[in-house]
């Protein structure tokens, strides 16, 4: 059995770790990483999305605006958190908080962990597409540093809606993809059970995305995955976030925003 754990994990193995029920979620990271957290609720337009939360946070003595998808632990909490699938009001709340961050000169730290934006009829009625699109446009020019950490599932547009940043970090066993392996398999392979092949072909692991130049750094996880040792994982995330904030806060804002544009412009033109 020892041999199996030493064997290189497949993309599909990593998907299972990224979705593990005990994987640390944003509530855990706040508890383990932050000296202080003041949650700020609501988008001022419709409601307060429990699948995407945010607020003032202090990490290693540094004040930031923390936003992120929220998955729950257990059925009840997950239903309340809509399994981390945000509605438009979640993305609009995130934007509101990022505006505040810009105003108060706080860097933004964004934690990504979602199967995707919620595909519901009410979400469509309230403009899921517009909410995400507007965030992409807004984050591209936000005049404060943005550090993104993909901690679990980076599910398509629902992930990207809070993931335009100056540094994109990714936990070793997180995944980030344009479509779920199951969805891709059922469309392109016409067979949902071919998800492992699709996961491989889509190149959704941190290692692949680093090679593709999509992410900047991989945050290591304990052997077996983050859920084996949440405290060690949070410590590694904290260290990486602080190091990147230090580097980014030294860059003049105008240069920072110009570099962000160049960063995304280069994607796909390697």
């Amino acid at each position: 059995m020892a041999k199996k754990t030493e064997k290189k994990l497949t993309a599909w193995d990593i998907v299972q770790i990224a979705r593990h029920a005990e994987r640390p979620n944003i509530t855990d990271y706040i508890r383990l990483m932050c000296d202080d957290f003041v949650e700020l609720h609501g988008d001022r337009l419709f409601g307060d999305d429990r699948a995407l939360i945010g607020g003032f946070a202090t990490i290693g003595g540094r004040k930031v605006m923390l936003i992120g998808h929220r998955k729950g632990r257990g059925v009840e909490e997950n239903i309340e958190a809509n399994f981390g699938m945000a509605n438009p009001e979640g993305y609009r709340k995130a934007m509101r908080l990022m505006r505040l961050a810009e105003k108060y000169s706080l860097p933004v730290v964004s934690f990504v962990d979602t199967p995707g934006a919620y595909p519901g009829s009410e979400a469509e009625a309230r403009g899921q597409a517009e909410a995400i699109a507007h965030n992409l446009e807004f984050m591209a020019t936000l005049k404060t540093p943005i550090v993104v950490v993909v901690t679990g599932e980076g599910g398509s547009g629902g992930a990207l809606g809070i993931a335009v940043g100056d540094r994109i970090l990714m936990l070793q066993n997180a995944v980030y993809s344009v479509i779920s392996p199951e969805g891709c398999a059922s469309i392109l392979w016409r067979d949902g059970s071919k998800a492992p092949q699709a996961a491989e072909a889509l190149k959704i692991t941190a290692e692949s995305l680093k090679k593709l130049g999509i992410i900047d750094a991989i945050v290591p996880e304990p052997t077996g995955g983050a859920h084996i040792d949440p405290a060690a994982t949070a410590a590694a995330v904290k260290k990486a976030v602080l190091a990147n904030l230090d580097a980014l806060c030294a860059v003049p804002l105008k240069t920072l925003v110009a570099q962000r544009y160049e960063k995304f412009s280069a994607m796909g033109q390697a």
Partner: protein, 276 residues
């Protein structure tokens, strides 16, 4: 000549599709000549059938004014993607040959009632109008051209969304194009988005939805998630008008629905309001 004898010169068989067009929505047969004269708008149900990018350029711009930009920017295959039906690169090459465009968007400079603009027009025939890295690059370059020339930017979308074969790189084009649009707006230039059938997924959730004005064609499908996915999620059947242009307007995300025949004049009119 008896009935079983062939005439000396058989008349060439005229293919049905050369005589008749079938409305993709209500399935009515319309004489091809009338169908084309109506710019592929169904006389019975008013469905605005999909146009190729060249057809739409002809519809929107002054004759002979369109000059293509960045034709050399074509598709990329960053993942070396293959699925059960073969290699993406082969499919993309075949699509380029079939459609005569190098990507799912055609971009260029043109005039609309003498107003100089930079224009991008998507083509659904190109892999469902999906957003590839070449598409994103063409849009970014069009946006930068608009800024350099101080011209309005207009993009007509027709897309099912992201291009799975380019994986995460396709997803990143959403961010990249929105960043470029943000620059156009920062330069004080108009950006007008035209949403045609269909504008969904990653394209509706990026550049198509952030126009100064979002203009839609009648009955166009506009939405983020697919109808089937939503029905499975909420375990309810959705009404027929769900995610139509009319639905999207009623919910506040589209400024105006403009019939195809009036689109060019409408664009010119609003550009004049914008100071052109």
């Amino acid at each position: 000549m008896s009935w079983f004898e062939k005439p000396a010169e058989a008349p060439a068989r005229v293919p049905t599709e050369a005589i008749w067009a079938v409305c993709p929505s209500c399935k009515v047969y319309v004489a091809r000549e009338a169908w084309d004269a109506a710019d592929k708008v169904c006389p019975r149900c008013n469905y605005h059938a999909r146009l190729s990018c060249r057809e739409r350029v002809a519809l929107l711009t002054d004759a002979g004014s369109f000059k293509e930009l960045n034709a050399d920017v074509s598709f990329n295959d960053p993942l070396s993607f293959e699925d059960s039906s073969g290699a993406y690169a082969d499919k993309a090459k075949a699509t380029v040959a079939k459609t005569g465009v190098g990507e799912s968007i055609l971009t260029g400079t043109a005039t609309i009632e003498q107003i100089a603009v930079v224009l991008g027009v998507m083509d659904f025939r190109f892999l469902g109008g999906s957003l590839g890295s070449g598409t994103g690059e063409r849009i970014r370059l069009a946006a930068e051209k608009a800024i350099a020339l101080k011209r309005p930017l207009i993009i007509a979308s027709a897309s099912g969304g992201a291009r799975m074969h380019e994986g995460i790189v396709s997803l990143m084009q959403m961010a990249k194009t929105c960043a470029a649009i943000a620059r156009v707006k920062e330069a004080g230039l108009p950006y007008i988005s035209i949403l045609t059938d269909p504008t969904t997924g990653g394209v509706s959730a990026s550049y198509a939805m952030v126009g100064d004005l979002n203009i839609a064609e009648p009955k166009a499908l506009i939405g983020f998630a697919g109808r089937r996915v939503i029905e499975q999620t909420i375990k309810q059947k959705l009404p027929d008008d769900f995610q139509t242009a009319e639905y999207t307007l009623a919910h506040g995300f589209v400024d105006h629905i403009v019939p195809r025949k009036e689109l060019k004049a409408f664009l010119a009119k609003v550009l004049r309001y914008a100071g052109y």
